[in-house]
């Protein structure tokens, strides 16, 4: 399932996928895969992304029922 919340949070800070990838120390393709829902990140990477975007885990990764 696509992670639109992550994409929206990134766009709100006017960050490109590459810029976010550089901030969390992964490749651009990894950020792209997470946004597209092709890859489930580990909790460590989720936390790094949340910190980089100033959001909580719930805000970015919790799926509403």
């Amino acid at each position: 399932m696509k992670n639109l919340k992550l994409k929206a949070a990134r766009a709100a800070l006017d960050l490109s996928q590459q810029e976010l990838a550089d901030r969390v120390g992964v490749s651009r393709q990894t950020i792209n895969s997470i946004e597209k829902g092709d890859y489930n990140p580990t909790i460590r990477l989720c936390i790094a992304i949340c910190r980089a975007l100033g959001k909580t885990l719930d805000e970015l990764f919790w799926e509403e029922a």
């Binding site: 590459q18 990838a21 120390g25 490749s27 393709q29 990894t30 792209n32 990140p41 460590r44 990477l45």
Partner: protein, 174 residues
């Protein structure tokens, strides 16, 4: 076994060992630490799995073919080397296709050029060896197949890197 063929294999192995030692030394100094992110490590694990299975299937088929075919029995080292080349290529192509071959923050253009040059060198070497053997009135040597195979697989790898690079440039934020 042909002595010059044996020398070629020894020199090839020595070159790989020297390059590996130089890279290792640089890694220890912290200059060239390989850095793959978690998704890349996962994809590389799957690439190793497919490379392992492809080598296993090839060796099994080679064993069956070796029972009947004299050409396999007489050139077992060459045929085993072809298996190693196939296995390495499976790993490389799978990794490239899943964006896990090039480390984080690195560009694939260097790898693209390197594999293209190595592929062309092997094909030229195979061609020169064939011409040399035929001009001496000998038959087509099986050892040439190793160079041909290596050349073809290197070029396939380079082409995969190029296709991936082009796709990447087209859909930056895809």
């Amino acid at each position: 076994m042909n002595i010059s063929y044996f020398h070629g294999i020894v020199v090839g192995i020595l070159v790989v060992v020297v390059i590996a030692l130089v890279l290792r030394k640089n890694m220890d100094k912290g200059k060239e630490k390989p850095q793959y992110d978690e998704r890349q490590l996962l994809a590389r694990g799957r690439a190793y799995m497919w490379a392992f299975w492809s080598l296993l299937c090839y060796v099994a088929l080679l064993g069956i073919a070796g029972e009947e075919m004299r050409i396999v029995q007489e050139n077992i080292l060459a045929f085993l080397m072809i298996g190693v080349c196939i296995s390495c290529s499976v790993f490389g192509i799978y990794s490239v296709w899943n964006d896990a071959y090039v480390q984080v923050g690195r560009n694939s253009r260097g790898y693209m050029v390197l594999t293209a040059v190595l592929g062309a060198m092997n094909i030229v070497a195979a061609f020169m060896m064939t011409v040399g053997h035929i001009s001496h009135g000998e038959v087509f040597p099986v050892s040439v197949i190793v160079n041909l195979m290596l050349g073809a697989l290197m070029l396939a790898m380079s082409l995969t890197l190029f296709l991936k690079y082009r796709a990447e440039r087209r859909g930056e934020e895809g």
